[in-house]
C-alpha cells in the first residue's frame, strides 16, 4: 500500500512537471521565433532585408528545433524547415512579393503549433 502510494505520487509529480514544462517551453520557443519572423517581415515589407537576415532566422530555428524534436511531431518541424528554405531563396533574389506570403505562413505556423499542444477540447477529441 505504501509503495503504491509513493509510486502514484512520484508519477503524478513527474507528469505534472513534465506537462507544465512542455507547455511553457513550446510557447516560449515559438514566441521567440515569431518575434524574429516579425522583424524579418517588416524588413521584407520595407525591401531592406538581406539574405543574412533570413540566414539568422534560419540558424535560430535550427538551434531551437534540436530541442523541439523531443515534443513536436517531426513532420511539423519539417514543414517550418521547408517554408523557411523557400523564403531564403526569395529574399536572396529580392523577390519581395513572393517572400512575404512565405513569412506570413511561417508566422501562422509559429502561432498555431503551440496551440495544438494546449489543453483544449478540440485537441482532445
Amino acid at each position: 500500500m505504501k509503495k503504491t502510494i509513493i509510486t502514484i505520487i512520484a508519477v503524478v509529480i513527474l507528469l505534472t512537471v513534465g506537462a507544465v514544462y512542455e507547455n511553457r517551453f513550446i510557447l516560449n520557443e515559438f514566441n521567440d521565433f515569431d518575434t524574429s519572423l516579425s522583424t524579418l517581415y517588416s524588413k521584407i515589407e520595407n525591401q531592406t532585408a538581406t539574405d543574412l537576415d533570413v540566414y539568422a532566422v534560419q540558424s535560430k530555428w535550427v538551434e531551437k528545433k534540436r530541442h523541439l524534436h523531443a515534443f513536436i511531431p517531426h513532420n511539423e518541424i519539417k514543414e517550418v524547415d521547408l517554408w523557411l528554405a523557400e523564403s531564403v531563396i526569395y529574399v536572396k533574389n529580392k523577390q519581395w512579393e513572393e517572400a512575404l506570403p512565405k513569412i506570413e505562413v511561417l508566422r501562422e505556423l509559429a502561432e498555431q503549433i503551440p496551440i495544438t499542444f494546449s489543453v483544449r477540447l478540440e485537441n482532445i477529441l
Binding site: M1, T7, V11, L15, A19, N23, A70, F71, H74, I124
Partner: protein, 225 residues
C-alpha cells in the same frame, strides 16, 4: 503531453467499460483493467518506436499514464469492497447445491455450453461431477469436486439448454423428440421450464428445472413407458 495523457485516459475508460460489460468470457486470468492495459500498452510502445515522426516522449507519457491508472485502481481496490466490485467484479457461483445457476451464467454473458466447455478443460465431463463451480473475477473456473462414487462414467451431451432442445445431440444419443417429450411429461415438466438437461450413453440424465434443485435420473424410464 497533457493532451496525450487525457486521450489515454479516455481510451482506457472506454475500453474498460466495454470489457466489463462483455463479462468474464472475454478475459483470461487477468482482471479487466489489467487486460485493457495489456491491450493498449503494446501499441503505445510500438507506435512511437515504428513511426519516427512521433516523439518518443508521447509513448512514454502514455505508458506512464497507464501505469498511474493501474496503481490508482490497485489502491482503490485495496481500500474497500465496493471499489473491488466495481473494478474487478465478483466471483459468480455457476454450480451450487441446486445445480447449474443459469441466472449467474447469463449475467456473465455465458451459456451452459460455455460452462461445459470450461469444465471439460478441467477434466470434468458431467455437470453433476461438481458440487460447486465458481467463475472467478479473472475468468478462471474454480471447482469443488463431488465424491468419485457419485460421478458419471460416460460423456454427457447437452439436450436442453435454457428451454431450447439441441436436436443434434438428441440424434447422437439415439433419442427421438417424442422420447424426450414423454420423458418430460413423465417428470411433469415443460421443455421451456428446463434450464439444463444433459444425458449420456448410459441413459444418465442431469435435469435442472427453473427454481428447482437439479436431479439425477435415468432416461431408461422412457423405454419402459
Amino acid at each position: 503531453m497533457l493532451v496525450t495523457l487525457i486521450r489515454t485516459l479516455i481510451i482506457f475508460i472506454t475500453l474498460f467499460t466495454v470489457i466489463r460489460l462483455m463479462g468474464k468470457r472475454q478475459i483470461c486470468e487477468m482482471q479487466p483493467f489489467e487486460f485493457i492495459i495489456t491491450l493498449i500498452i503494446s501499441d503505445l510502445a510500438c507506435i512511437p518506436m515504428s513511426d519516427v515522426s512521433i516523439p518518443l516522449v508521447y509513448g512514454i507519457v502514455s505508458i506512464l499514464g497507464l501505469f498511474l491508472l493501474h496503481q490508482l485502481i490497485s489502491l482503490l481496490e485495496k481500500s474497500g469492497n465496493f471499489c473491488k466490485l466495481v473494478f474487478s467484479g465478483k466471483p459468480s457461483v455457476v454450480i451450487d447445491k441446486w445445480g447449474v445457476n443459469i441466472k449467474e451464467l447469463k449475467k456473465n454473458d455465458m451459456g451452459v455450453e460455455d460452462l461445459i466447455e470450461s469444465m471439460r478443460s478441467m477434466g470434468y465431463f458431467s455437470l453433476d461431477d461438481l458440487d460447486y463451480a465458481i467463475y472467478e473475477s479473472n475468468g478462471k473456473l474454480s471447482a469443488l469436486e463431488k465424491d468419485s462414487e457419485k460421478k458419471g462414467s460416460a460423456i454427457p451431451f447437452l439436450v436442453v439448454a435454457d428451454g431450447k432442445v439441441k436436436k443434434n445431440n438428441l440424434y447422437k444419443l439415439n433419442i427421438t423428440e417424442n422420447d424426450l417429450d414423454n420423458f418430460l411429461k413423465d417428470k411433469r415438466v415443460k421443455a421451456r421450464d428446463v434450464e439444463v438437461l444433459t444425458a449420456d450413453d448410459n441413459g444418465r440424465v442431469y435435469l435442472k428445472v427453473k427454481n428447482k434443485k437439479y436431479e439425477i435420473t435415468s432416461l431408461k424410464s422412457i423405454g419402459e413407458k
